[in-house]
């Protein structure tokens, strides 16, 4: 049994702590604020395998398979629903691009297909079909409740012995050569230290600060926080917009009905580089911009009430793919998820735990593709398709 520190109490950190404990490791988990306070509790809830490159498609196919068994495994209702993702094309060129994406997804067993607007209207009764030519539809994509999912993992992790500490900030490391030997942390003003055999940096937008504490350059894994906002309406009758519906050419705007309370979550690619890592203020330009898209997608939304608006971070890397792998002899990273951490968590957590514990993993995760040193080498991957 090794002592492993996980830094970051978001979905990636918590799920990895759980997977490590399942493998018999002795895990201590640090979250400097409340659990889920970074990106997880601000996400749009979506889960999809409709990516446009092999690495992300294969990883997400595995992740969806894990999601399918997660409620039973964790023994908790996480409101996972396979209500699909529906991408909508507004031009013939886009229809052709959709067809190419669908061929690639089908090759790896993801059952996406091209549908016409009659079928789209059956799936989304309040859809405005007029602007769209065709849809890319995968009924196996879906959504889950990020709050319940994170706590389902956290409760099970604690049952398995994980020492999960909220409001506990990591403030430094002791390093001997290429190995981290201890983690220093502060809680309630008191500084302590723990000897460790390995460390995972799962701090997402804050990950460059943790890398720096480990003696690495902040720019080695260049993650930038972009403020990504969401707006939610009052609850509507279930069944109006169950899938995530997105015309990518409309600034990646999307709508999706919350699986639990029926409110419509509205998002769009109206992003601002965050002024700081405390910059969570929602903005009026986003509210107006996103609702203009939302009513063009589903006109009856005009008569709904907006109840909430919030902001979180897309912790973005230059190619919108996360950095997953080893940085030092016993120092690992899984961060920079660029808006995809929640959906990828079951697969990434399993892969990362197996890598740390056994040195290899059964998960179809392309380590070369997500290599955290690729930025230093000037190698970028094709940009991960980035929506919800």
């Amino acid at each position: 049994m090794s002592k492993i520190a996980v830094i970051g109490g978001g979905i990636i950190g918590v799920a990895t702590a759980y997977e490590l404990a399942k493998l018999g490791e002795d895990v201590i988990l640090f979250e400097k604020n409340y659990f889920g306070s970074g990106s997880t509790f601000r996400c749009a809830t979506g889960i999809r395998a409709q990516f446009t490159d092999e690495a992300n498609i294969r990883l997400m196919k595995h992740s969806v398979e894990r999601w399918e068994g997660l409620e039973e495994e964790l023994g908790s209702d996480i409101v996972f629903r396979q209500t699909g993702y529906l991408f909508l094309a507004t031009s013939e060129e886009e229809v052709e691009a959709f067809k190419a994406n669908i061929r690639l997804q089908n090759k790896f067993g993801v059952p996406t297909r091209l549908i016409d607007m009659d079928e789209a209207r059956e799936i989304v009764p309040i859809l405005n079909t007029e602007p769209f030519l065709a849809g890319a539809w995968n009924p196996k994509d879906g959504k889950a409740n990020p709050f319940k999912t994170l706590f389902a993992y956290l409760f099970r992790a604690r049952e398995l012995g994980v020492d999960a500490r909220g409001h506990t900030e990591v403030i430094g490391f002791e390093r001997a050569g290429d190995a981290i030997t201890a983690v220093k942390f502060r809680s309630n003003g008191k500084v302590e230290s723990v000897r460790v055999d390995a460390v995972l940096n799962a701090a997402n937008a804050w990950a460059p600060l943790i890398n720096e504490m480990a003696g690495l350059s902040r720019g080695l894994v260049p993650i930038t926080a972009y403020k990504h906002q969401l707006v939610k309406t009052e609850p509507l009758e279930p069944g109006q917009v169950e899938p995530l519906v997105c015309p990518p050419s409309w600034n990646d705007a999307y709508i999706i009905q919350d699986g639990e309370d029926g409110g419509i979550i509205c998002g769009a690619g109206i992003e601002h580089k965050a002024r700081s890592l405390e910059d969570y203020e929602p903005t009026y330009d986003f509210l107006r911009g996103v609702l203009e898209y939302a009513v063009r997608i589903a006109p009856p939304l005009r008569y709904a009430h907006v109840v909430r608006q919030w902001a979180g971070f897309y912790a973005k890397t230059p190619d919108s793919n996360p950095a997953i792998g080893k940085l030092l002899e016993n120092f690992y990273i899984a961060a920079g998820f660029s808006g995809h951490g929640f959906m990828m968590a079951p697969a990434v957590a399993q892969a990362m735990a197996e890598l740390i514990s056994k040195g290899r993993s059964r998960v179809p995760l392309d380590w070369e593709w997500y290599d955290p040193y690729r930025f230093e080498r000037g190698e970028l991957r094709s940009s991960a398709f980035q929506i919800g």
């Binding site: 889920g36 709050f147 309370d261 929602p282 107006r288 009430h305 907006v306 109840v307």
Partner: protein
């Protein structure tokens, strides 16, 4: 419904729901908020948050003033979408 004491009328949360979650170790107001959806309904917590704070204070032995309020967000009351998008043409 007899015998149930409602804390949040927007999302039908009871005193028992709040106490059970605190007993399971969730004592952070932001975490309670998200797991119970208190403060996330149309009234934005005007009814439930003060009650939950008092339960939390009682159960954890803290003074209510020591417990930070959850972050308040716009809109403070529901606004019809057409009021906002209609403004785009002005």
């Amino acid at each position: 419904m007899s015998g149930k004491k409602i804390v949040c009328r927007c999302n039908d949360v009871t005193v028992e729901d709040v106490e059970a979650l605190i007993d399971s170790g969730v004592t952070d107001i932001e975490e309670l908020k998200r797991l119970l959806r208190i403060g996330m309904g149309p009234c934005q917590g005007r009814t439930c948050i003060p009650i939950v704070l008092s339960i939390l204070a009682r159960k954890t032995g803290r003074r209510q003033e020591e417990i930070p309020l959850p972050r308040a967000r716009v809109p403070i009351r529901p606004v019809r979408v057409e009021v906002i998008v209609g403004g785009a043409d002005e």
